[in-house]
Homo-oligomer: 360 residues x 2
DNA sequence: GCCGGGGCTGGAACTAGTTCCGCCGTCCGG
DNA sequence: CCGGACGGCGGAACTAGTTCCAGCCCCGGC
């Protein structure tokens, strides 16, 4: 029942922009009475001319409310690929600040930033890397502490291989490079040196009995910071005493409970070094609750310099980590910058009110 | 100079998977000696069979390390579109928590979440909506306070129109619906009622001279919270006194300075309601600095219940906003759920140590 | 008047997938 | 022994763009 001359089209492809899903380049070209090639050239600004069709194309695009399909464009290799930011969790100043740094350079270079969380589940991480490869991201920023295990190294190599197949690269943020996998980029900051500096600061103030509150699992961040604590003691000629270590998860309630229990057995401690600011806050709360004055009786040092710790009473002495810079540097590599080997950014001790001279 | 029988290909399209950019479906099909159609069916799991070619396709895909191109798939309308989360800034618990809620439902439904910041610049916002439309996102979550102006309403309508053209929808998060634009979804929480509840709590404790610290600009969040303060006073039969309002930006330093200056002229105030927790922290610091006891001399109420304010000394009485729920609800609509009109989620007053009976 | 250069244009190939439709072969029932 | 049902498979059309190449027209120079 086709009319003569009518081209039989399959599906429900009625011509014209009313099809749904918006006007396409073909619709614009039809309305402007030019070919798709010409319409594409005009809209991409690749037609120098001021010809009549030039103006007709622009008018048609305007009239139809044409929005170029970035997916189709990306398929031709034109257009910018997204950058993925993968962390175990999104809340907390650490990740948000890093993400902010990465986002800054991403948008400045015309890329979008995709944020994904794994909840710390390796299976979800594997699935995520697969999905992101399918979506042809330009790079994956794998952010935060990871297991310090051979299993993780193998997993990371698998990620890197999968991503390399689609022309993307893997960038670790906030953990050290994997020595046997130089192709996996790493932007880290000085966890170990930061805690060491905190201990040295306490030693200068005359402290000798310095406790450590933190987690001792095999994740890179806790481990490196714990090593920094031992470094600091060793540098000052103090013996490392395992009994002066109180284990705690990264939650202020947990740190408060651990501190209370710890102090029962060790009333002679005059300073506490904390793995994170979140823990430090819990430590301070526990000290307040027991009527112990900070810093007159016990000094406290944190790590991260998260928002608000400067507003505590007393304000918290802590180590400022360059989260924004880490994100920015990683972003720069992600958008195609050179990678000259692992980066370890310096940290800075911020001395505030929670540390003071040792009593006596 | 072509050899006879050799098909002349344009560009550098040497056949085989070595071309760069990874193996394609055509490469897999070639290796498995089947058509692209068959390979596609097998890899999509749409081939029930256990035929010989079925196994050959899977083996070929494995051997070549085939990763399906999600862009090409999306172009066919298959595959999940991303969801965009647009806010002025990423740091701060507000946005991160909301983003977490949205990300939860996004990933649970197979979507990715793209995070973008505008820095509060309308031009960047406009450009971003355009870019996101081009990338064919499923929805845009426009997050946070916005100008309470007619200009913003027009702009939002433009966003909504652009997005509608590509089948996406606009969802406002954390600000009220625009009455004249019912197609623009809104998931908000009760700014105004929250502050009102805070004031009522103070009134019950006997306070009569209650100050307000906050910004008075024309953004929706500050404005609504300011109205809530006035509501609370009116409900208690107290007159609103403009002199009891101290202006401050949303920064603790600014709030501390504003509070110090304000107290010079108003020593009789016994309670301070703050627009945000960040400001409340600054207010508390200023009170500490002047040797004013909290809550014995002055009570303080915040808003947001951000991380750590429960760990201050004294812990902060504040209004908990359901950020995660807002993100979750918005995410649900973004992935295709029904929108039954504007939602205003309830907030909850969390009474802690910073509020107590009025002195005398 | 003819030829060549230059700019604009359109046809067609190309990106990498999905899916409709029809063909073919096999198997089983009548 | 033949017909129909059914499953697997391949050709081709389709998604929405970009870009190469050839052709056309127009204008200027000889």
């Amino acid at each position: 029942m086709s009319l003569p001359g009518e081209v039989s089209t399959r599906r429900t492809t009625s011509p014209g922009p009313e099809r749904g899903g918006g006007a396409t380049l073909a619709d614009v070209a039809r309305l402007a009475d030019v070919s798709r090639a010409t319409a594409s050239r005009v809209l991409a600004g690749r037609a120098a001319g001021k010809s009549a069709s030039h103006a007709r194309v622009l008018a048609a695009a305007e009239e139809l409310g044409y929005v170029v399909n970035g997916l189709a464009r990306s398929m031709m290799g034109v257009g910018r690929r997204s950058i993925a930011f993968v962390s175990s969790i999104m809340v907390g100043p650490t990740f948000a600040t890093m993400a902010g740094g990465a986002e800054d350079v991403a948008t400045a270079n015309g890329h979008l930033l995709t944020m994904c969380t794994t909840g710390g589940d390796p299976d979800r991480e594997v699935a995520l890397i697969e999905t992101l490869s399918e979506q042809r991201v330009a790079a994956v920023l794998l952010v935060g502490s990871t297991p310090a295990t051979e299993e993780f190294a193998r997993r990371a190599q698998r990620y890197s291989d999968t991503l390399a197949r689609v022309g993307a690269r893997l960038i670790l943020c906030g953990r050290a490079a994997l020595p046997d996998h130089p192709h996996i980029a790493s932007i880290d900051y000085d966890h170990r040196g930061g805690v060491r500096t905190g201990v040295e600061h306490l030693v200068e103030l005359g402290h000798r009995r310095i406790a450590f509150v933190g987690s001792l699992d095999d994740m890179t961040t806790p481990h490196q910071r714990f090593l920094g604590y031992q470094d600091g003691l060793a540098g000052a000629g103090l013996a490392f005493d395992p009994a002066l270590t109180a284990q705690s998860d990264n939650a202020s309630d947990d740190a408060a409970a651990a501190t209370s229990a710890f102090l029962e057995g060790h009333p002679d401690v005059t300073a506490i070094v904390c793995q994170t600011d979140v823990m430090a806050v819990g430590v301070c709360r526990a000290l307040h609750a027991r009527g112990i004055a900070i810093p007159e009786q016990i000094s406290v040092v944190g790590f991260d310099d998260m928002q608000l710790v400067a507003d505590l009473t007393p304000s918290l002495t802590t180590v400022r980590a360059p989260f924004h810079d880490v994100g920015e540097l990683a972003g720069r590599i992600a958008v195609g910058g050179d990678y000259d080997g692992p980066a370890v950014l310096p940290v800075e001790l911020i001395v505030r009110g929670s540390t003071g001279p040792a009593p006596h």
